[in-house]
Symmetry: C2
Subunit: 636 residues, 2 copies
């Protein structure tokens, strides 16, 4: 089995990269099939790619709402080591989580009010701190958490399916990788079309979860609120420590990631954008709170215990529905909504990365929009890193949880601090209330971030605490590099003007044949000094070449260089050095012309020594010479 | 554990490729450390890279001799399913193997006499058949078997070590890959230096094996030739079939691979080359026969049974020596000699591939000699394919055995047939005897090849029987391609002479800055028609560019193209099409000049859109245009 799985993985990773390559390569008909017709740049601001809030709700909230599928389970997993009598702690922990959710949503609505153009924590921090450090901490920790969201959500989705179909168990990693690849293709199609595909399954999942809670209440109305399986309440079994409860709390808080997605994506809402975003936030908060509480409560009443092969949601649904059609609908809608959570993260990650890259703190390639107006490079980077995490943790949600959510709370904290500074600076109507809201938010999120870092440090949070400063440092270095380049490239158009120089053209000739003839024709058409250079490996070789050149009527001056080490690079390199010295101080260009014949089929290249390409690459990086390639396309 | 191993493998495969890249890249100081100073081409025929026969023996025979470590075990593995009473069949099987060895060595000596310049089966077939098919069958089947030799030998080497140290067990695949990588580095250093490193361990292994046989005889002299563990002799347990015995025989014959290495490598011997090669053949045959017989006999007497975690050699040595120093010396010399077997194959494979490639049946790159005069590309191809096999079969020797040896016997058969034709054609002194020797050889090897194909078909031989014709077919296609190319490139020097044409130079400008200025200077220095082309994405962009160009004093004519789809490729492509039409039938070149700034550090490239490179690549493959890259090297 092991064998088998290993190979499948390799194959799928390769397929994934091939698919991605197709997706981003130009002029490809395969691409048209998967990605759709290219969109004009001006369609970017057209109404039809913008989202009505009721449609935006499922797309942008899938990340937050779907976490109910694994958040309570993550919390219960920490408690269950103490036995059944510790299970009731899930109730106060869930209540605390919901309170935290309320505080966060309120704080984030303040963010939307203050910054309607989106950007979330990063935009807020950037606006309120002159030093780039806070904003980089916010953006980097969010970007890390987005990657984790994809890994965690897809893993949880696959675990939901393998709960219903244990046969999927050994293939979890592969299935998860395939899901990520499908998400890449869907996201390269662009935001708005994604919406139309994805809105309904999330509504279905919400309906399923709410129905599950209603069915649970009906069940309890018939069989009592304390059932045979219900664990005792109010006991303090030996081993309960504050640290352990805090750890369970921080694991349960993995249900709160994804709140920032909406505030980052305000520009994708249809007008009025701010109002729509706030409406979405409130609706989402209410539904999430009800679901979390109801779900956790029924888990407690039915005495469900975490099982690595069967999620708690699947167990609870099994109690009420058996394995009939309702169970199947719930499992598959859980699967789909968790995949959509990952999908919403693709939008969030690529937009945030593009914003940060526009400011020069990340590689500029992240700002490139693809054919369908999505940020293609961001989408692919996210997918690649998420796949690495999925493979490294073999698609086990609970192994990934300790790394998770710490980034989100760090960025929450920075955002709150930024808003505090803003209210103090801008003032405006009711600024006192807003200040107090964000002050509470700041204290709570900072506290939660510290709790996360401390309680989950050994289990994996240390990794995030190492990677985060590295990313921040790299961002600073990137910015510095861009500044330096801009400085070097700047010219005064009135002063620096292009003028003609002396150019010495060197044509590399391997013999007397059609490709060389074609190349020499080109070189002779330029009005520059011309020398043909041939590298010979032994005496005979050299003599033969000189003779052939003679027969050819000496098309131009020929210099034959001798190579003792079978390298053609070295003698040419020495020849150029000599030319440079001889040229002296006078500005000018050394111009190397390389003949290259191009086979009809790309695979035929393997049959020809790619010395022309290697030469090009080497000179390009090592010498200050202009390089021209004259192609000769073979007919068959 | 599984987790762990998976990652380590990925890391090692990556390291392997990095190491190989370093090994072949030019002008690298790292390379100097691993590979040594480059050798001049004329050193190729210098005496000091040629081998004295006593030194050539261990290097070129390691392949054949080392197989004693797994050949008898492979045979016994087939028999042991029938119980202890079938074990005695290993004795007649080993005797048959030795007879076959004698026939093969005699036939091969005929080959050396007829063809002192080396090339083995391929050279013989090529010389005696006008149709290239037989020689291609010979070379392809040998090349396949060389790859299998590396995989089998390295796997067996690692199994020897993990017999002594069971802790190595789970890491066998990784250790095997590391060994192959070390072999690549050693082989890129070249043949002669390898000799000095490698001669002594093989002698040590031979001494160890002979000593083991002597110790065994002493043991039997004291404790009797029939000991309590000795299985009964002469019984026919139920289930013994001719097919099963033939299968055991063909598995045991895996001990005979590697005979052709010497005849392929005649040119690496010191003069007199033929005599040295024949001496080596005879000495090797005698030692191998004694070892095989003695080893198999003691295995029988001590009643050793195959064990996946402990090789039979290790078990036998354990019986005589315990796990003391003699046991350790034997295990480690087995390990080293099996690695050397793989090493000798590197020489054989790369030389044969180079010979076939020189004839145009394999990619020409295989004829390139590296800095140290070894055929670098052949070495790397062999290593890559062997690593694939090792990973696919998880470094299990017995899983690889069914694929093995069939190729060798196919090539043997072809070679014998070739020699038969030669003796008939050339005649010469004592041609009758030589003819009879090779006739016997031909019949026997053809028979053995058929036995192999039939008995091992289901277990893996089918794979070889599919791959072989594919390689032969590809070889024919390669030859056809080279012929076609040569035809197309041929010109009559008196008729076709390079002359000047019309050239239109297009400079791609992204804005007004130093890199563009530098590029325009170059373009203006050529005496060609000049147009600057800018691609704008919206109206503002275009207007701004036109204004800047004006301010810059209109260095040349500017054409601004509008792109609606954020692609710069598409509008430029359309522009070129228009130019081509407008140019009409007149011969000429369209010449695109691309500015490219080159960061000081290679990794900084990730921070810049590589549009220049992508443009180059696209035009290169799709359009018949000359492309010039004008580099601008950044200072920091």
């Amino acid at each position: 089995m092991h064998h088998h799985v290993f190979w499948l993985e390799i194959v799928f990773i390769l397929l994934a990269f091939i698919a991605m390559w197709f997706a981003v390569s130009n002029f490809s008909s395969v691409k048209r099939i998967f990605i759709g017709r290219p969109l004009r740049s001006k369609e970017l601001h057209a109404q039809h790619t913008k989202l009505f809030w009721i449609i935006a709700l499922p797309i942008l909230s899938a990340d937050l709402y779907s976490s109910v599928a694994y958040g309570p389970e993550a919390g219960m997993t920490e408690l269950v080591g103490l036995g059944a009598s510790a299970k009731w702690f899930i109730l106060p922990i869930t209540i605390s989580t919901i309170l935290l959710l309320a505080i966060l949503i309120t704080s984030y609505i303040m963010g939307v009010i203050a910054y309607p153009s989106g950007g979330g924590a990063y935009a807020i921090a950037k606006d309120n701190f002159s030093n780039p450090l806070p904003s980089l901490i916010a953006s980097s920790s969010l970007l890390i958490d987005y990657i984790l969201t994809v890994a965690v959500s897809v893993s949880a989705a696959v675990e939901a399916v393998s709960s219903a179909y244990p046969a999927v168990g050994p293939y979890e990693t592969i299935v998860a990788i395939v899901c990520v690849c499908l998400l890449v293709i869907i996201n390269l199609r662009g935001v708005a079309e994604s919406a139309k595909i994805f809105a309904w399954p999330t509504f279905l999942f919400m309906a399923c979860m709410l129905l599950l809670i209603v069915v649970g209440l009906t069940n309890e109305a018939s069989y009592g609120f304390v059932q045979p399986a219900t664990p005792p309440i109010g006991q303090f079994p030996p081993g309960v420590t504050v640290l352990l409860l805090l750890k369970a709390f921080s694991s349960a808080c993995s249900a709160l990631t994804g709140i920032e997605t909406i505030s980052n994506a305000v520009p994708v809402f249809r007008e009025p954008q701010q109002k729509s975003a706030i409406k979405t936030y409130i609706a989402l908060g209410v539904v999430t709170a009800i679901t979390l509480m109801g779900f956790a409560y029924h888990l407690y009443v039915q005495g469900i215990t975490p099982d690595i092969h069967n999620t708690m949601l699947s167990q609870l649904a099994g109690v009420y529905y058996g394995h009939g059609p309702m169970y199947q609908i719930l499992i598959w809608s859980t699967f789909i909504v968790l995949i959509l959570a990952a999908n919403s993260t693709f939008t969030g990650f690529s937009q945030l990365a593009a914003i940060v890259a526009t400011d020069g703190f990340l590689p500029r390639a992240l700002t490139n929009r693809g054919d369908r107006l999505g940020y293609s490079n961001g989408i692919i980077v996210l997918a690649g890193l998420a796949i690495v995490l999925i493979v490294a943790f073999r698609a086990h949600t609970n192994a990934l949880i300790p790394l998770y959510a710490i980034g989100v709370f760090l960025s929450f904290t920075v955002a709150q601090l930024g808003l505090l500074r803003r209210w103090k600076r801008v003032r405006g109507p009711k600024w006192g209330i807003k200040f107090v809201i964000n002050l509470v938010g700041f204290i709570i999120t900072a506290l939660v971030a510290v709790i996360f870092a401390v309680t989950k440090f050994i289990d994996g949070a240390w990794l995030v605490l190492i990677v985060l400063p590295i990313i921040v440092f790299l961002s600073m270095m990137i910015k510095r590099h861009y500044n330096q380049v801009a400085q070097q490239l700047k010219i005064d158009p009135a002063e620096t003007r292009p003028g003609a120089h002396r150019v010495i053209t060197i044509v590399l000739v391997s013999g007397v044949h059609r490709v060389v003839s074609n190349t020499l024709s080109f070189a002779k058409s330029l009005g520059t000094e011309l020398v043909a250079v041939h590298v010979g490996f032994d005496h005979e070789d050299i003599e033969k070449m000189e003779q052939k050149w003679e027969e050819w009527g000496n098309p131009c001056r020929l210099v034959v260089l001798r190579s003792s080490y079978r390298s053609i690079l070295e003698p040419i390199s020495r020849f150029i050095q000599a030319l440079e010295k001889w040229e002296g101080e006078e500005p000018g260009h050394i111009h190397i012309v390389v003949p290259q014949f191009i086979p009809k089929k790309w695979w035929q290249n393997i049959l020809h020594n790619q010395s022309a390409l290697l030469l090009r690459a080497w000179f390009f990086w090592n010498k200050d010479v202009v390089i021209t390639t004259v192609p000769y396309h073979l007919q068959k």
